[in-house]
Point group: C5
Chain length 81, copies 5
């Protein structure tokens, strides 16, 4: 599971049905690369989180029918980048 | 889910049956690397999109029997590269 | 789906049973890295192709029981590297 | 399966239910990149381990319903980085 | 399927049950990065092999219940790095 930092929420009005109304976050890694993930644990900008990928990401989104490949798995209590 | 920019549609007459007549896009990342994805949301050249990979890509293509590993999940409303 | 160029066929007499007699190609990316894929569409040396990975690769190999993680999905009609 | 070195345990009180109370480790690769994995074999800080990813990671976590994509598969007896 | 060179066998007495007594190899890529894979075809140190990843790796290990994400798929007859 990768460690990423939350940057912002993502606004996306035109999306596939499979994403439903899931909350989307923009996250970045230590090299500045950004990716998009589903969040169900309430992460905020600045938080360091770790994310789960693959089919586990869909189970982690509470609803297996949400078509994601990346979901926030937990917020890290203390982290130094 | 990775963030990519749409470059063009892809012309490909000789393909495996499993791709059917799906619309294919060439997308590029911030380093200029190009990949091919299925598009069902109507993305245009220049749009920034995020894509879903793995088995979710097939569900996202509306038809699970389309054999893709990458599908456009949404068009980002505002994005600065 | 990644974009790769066909380099040659691969000779491999000692292989797992799960690969059966499938035709194997050596492909390279823009950085010169080489990988091996199954081909069912008849790609030739020099062709630019895009490949499908994961479980879709097995479905794309016509026979789900061929144990590959990479299969040529289509030959690109026009491509400039 | 990748080879990584154990750095520390990870404290994470806010997590998706699917992770349950599983023990989490922070591991780093030879380039210093850190990832998070489930551990069931009792690895300690400093150990070199190899990890299994994908759906096998969930089976490796003893409980298929633990939503991980990375699990320690074994501790390497002798290793020089 | 990636192309790797066999370096040595791996000694690992403490492992998850899911790996059973499978033979483990250390392989390295052209950049010197090492990974661990299951071998059922009898590859020796110095051989160039290609490996299959994901769920196909488990089918390739003869026993679907061996929890690997990487298995040697074949030994390449002639190869120049």
């Amino acid at each position: 599971m990768e460690i990423l930092q939350v940057e912002s929420t993502l606004v996306c009005t035109r999306r596939i049905e499979g994403l439903k109304q899931a909350k989307l976050l923009v996250l970045k890694n230590t090299k500045g690369k950004r990716v998009v993930a589903i969040d169900q644990v309430g992460a905020n900008a600045g938080n360091f989180v770790f994310v789960v990928s693959g089919s586990a990401a869909r189970h982690g989104a509470d609803d297996y029918y949400i078509l994601t490949d990346l979901t926030v798995a937990g917020i890290i209590d203390h982290w130094q980048a």
